[in-house]
């Protein structure tokens, strides 16, 4: 409502400011110590030194990657939790993660997953196919959708595991992808997945208002004049695009999609458009903070970011289970 706008906008601006700080930190902090003045010069007075190269070719792309992947995971989590009215849903529940993992394993077994971009395409295709399968089985109700997603995920995970046990080199290749990380993934071209994420984020804002009616239940949304079938389909397409692209780029970092919508929901107080906006800022903050943590936590080297987000997300998940429990399922 009109009276809420200043408070909500102020909160969003504060979150954006925090994101800016975290992004600057993401460019500044790393295993190689670089003086702040040198960081500034990397942009203002580029000389092509090692430090400048690290800043411009590694840390900046990695930070941008983190922002878009974090926003995509947060937004897709918020969308799927809203649509299924299930606070424990996350994008992986539609089979996105298992589908991507299976495709990479299968591709590896068939000798197709040689390059990083081949892996990226395999992962994305696997995500999309898995969701299509889940949707065709479970489209009649949110509960069926979730059950179909969980069932397919288990089957695909089992098949993937079987392939990895039988084929050691598939296992080796999968290990790198499966940890979920931003490190080492900033070097390849991500133009297409990042563009897809950007467009999907804008579209996610556009479905937020119809979802505002949808959360009152499908009957109410329908009699309020909503296009319920169209909205549901749009949400599923967007979740697949966002989570599929994010997973393809950075591997499975599922906790962001699970926990960020919980935090954002407290702030949004029932408004889906604001929920979407908050998740798109808080998701990148969590991912970048985790990524910075992954660089500095161990003196010997990097911890994969998914390990750090899980570390931060674990307690939040336990809190959510205690708070909502089985009643919401």
């Amino acid at each position: 409502m009109r009276t809420d706008l200043p408070a909500r906008a102020a909160l969003l601006l504060a979150a954006l400011a925090l994101l800016a700080v975290v992004a600057v930190a993401g460019v500044s902090v790393g295993t190689r110590a670089i003086a702040p003045a040198e960081i500034w010069r990397a942009f203002a007075d580029y000389a092509g030194s090692d430090d400048h190269l690290i800043i411009r070719d590694v840390r900046v792309p990695r930070t941008i990657l983190g922002i878009l992947v974090g926003a995509a995971l947060g937004a897709s989590g918020a969308l799927i939790q809203t649509l299924t009215r299930n606070p424990l849903a996350e994008p992986g529940i539609l089979g996105v993660t298992a589908g991507a993992g299976f495709a990479i394993n299968l591709g590896g077994a068939l000798g197709l997953a040689g390059s990083q971009s081949a892996q990226l395409m395999l992962a994305f295709a696997g995500s999309v196919l898995a969701v299509l399968l889940v949707y065709s089985v479970g489209r009649t109700s949110p509960l069926r959708l979730v059950l179909a997603g969980v069932a397919l995920s288990s089957v695909l995970a089992g098949l993937s595991l079987g392939m990895r046990l039988m084929l050691p080199d598939v296992f080796d290749r999968f290990r790198f992808w499966s940890v979920g990380a931003l490190a080492g993934r900033e070097q390849m071209s991500h133009t297409i997945p990042l563009l897809a994420i950007g467009i999907a984020l804008v579209a996610a804002m556009a479905v937020a208002r119809p979802l505002n009616a949808m959360v009152l239940g499908e009957q109410v949304a329908h009699t309020l004049g909503g296009h319920t079938a169209r909205t549901k389909l749009a949400v599923l397409v967007l979740v697949t695009l966002l989570a599929g692209a994010a997973t393809a780029v950075a591997g499975p970092i599922t906790f962001v999609g699970l926990m960020i919508p919980h935090l954002a929901r407290r702030l949004a107080a029932g408004s889906i458009p604001w929920l979407m906006a908050y998740t798109m800022v808080l998701g990148p903050i969590l991912l970048l903070v985790s990524d910075i943590g992954s660089r500095v936590l161990l003196p010997t080297g990097e911890v994969p970011v998914a390990v750090v987000t899980a570390f931060l997300g674990g307690p939040v998940l336990i809190w959510a289970v205690r708070r909502y429990g089985a009643a919401s399922l």
Partner: protein, 258 residues
């Protein structure tokens, strides 16, 4: 006066199962119509067809001479409001924000919250008696309060037609009467009310027009005093009874025998 909302020879069902066949009904304008009947007689199904939740497999539900399914969803949603059963509010939502959702059909994708919307929400909350709960979280309200909040939501929709599916279920007798009086007042202000009611005595007391259904058919309709007698109740509910005048209002009152 010709009815604006009509069912013309409609057949309703779910998949292969036919619930109602050849139902004709003209909903009287500006009146309070109660649909009564035993469980599973098709009264909720009929209501659902009026709000496009169920498409008739034959026949037409018409509004102003046009098929209700032919309207743009938001256009028909500005004419006909509906309160279904078993509603669950989203978590963390305060009353006024839930009520504000009733303005959905009056908003476009990019429109901002207008003074007109705010007025409608305030009036709806006042009418439903939930204005003082405006800042409370819906989750922490009692069942009766929550039901009135949902009523406020559908009132904020500001539709001339208001359809209610068993709106008094799960409420204690005081809250039931409060709600029915509210609907009667809305009728007095010019709205058309159509409610599925379980309690035949309440239907007789508050409704101008009673539609009695059995096994998917309309067996009788008319003013309560004209149609409700022991014979009809026996036929519709399979319940031996006597019908006496209500000591307060003089409307028919059903008293089961033995």
């Amino acid at each position: 006066m010709a009815a604006r909302l009509t069912a013309q020879d409609i057949t309703l069902g779910y998949g292969e199962r036919v619930v109602s066949e050849h139902v004709n009904l003209d909903v009287p304008d500006g009146a309070f119509t109660a649909i009564v009947g035993a469980n599973a007689c098709g009264k909720s199904t009929l209501l659902r067809s009026f709000v496009r939740l169920l498409r008739p497999s034959a026949g037409t539900v018409g509004f102003d001479g046009r098929d209700v399914n032919g309207y743009r969803p938001k256009a028909i949603a500005r004419q006909i409001g509906f309160l279904p059963q078993g509603l669950v509010a989203p978590e963390n939502i305060v009353v006024r924000r839930l009520v504000a959702r009733g303005r959905y059909p009056h908003q476009s994708m990019l429109s901002t919250w207008s003074a007109e919307n705010e007025r409608a929400v305030q009036e709806a909350m006042a009418a439903a008696g939930v204005a003082e709960l405006a800042e409370r979280s819906v989750e922490e309200l009692s069942g009766g309060q929550r039901q009135r909040v949902w009523v406020a939501m559908v009132l904020a929709q500001e539709t001339p037609y208001l359809l209610l599916d068993e709106p008094t279920t799960f409420l204690d007798i005081t809250h039931q009467y409060q709600l029915l009086k509210l609907f009667a007042r809305l009728r007095d202000e010019g709205r058309t009310i159509i409610a599925v009611l379980h309690d035949i005595n309440q239907a007789c007391r508050f409704a101008d027009h009673v539609v009695a259904m059995k096994a998917g058919r309309v067996v009788a309709e008319g003013a309560p005093a004209d149609i409700v007698d022991a014979e009809l109740i026996e036929e519709v509910f399979d319940l031996p009874c006597v019908v006496v005048p209500d000591p307060v209002t003089g409307t028919p009152m059903v008293v089961p025998t033995a």
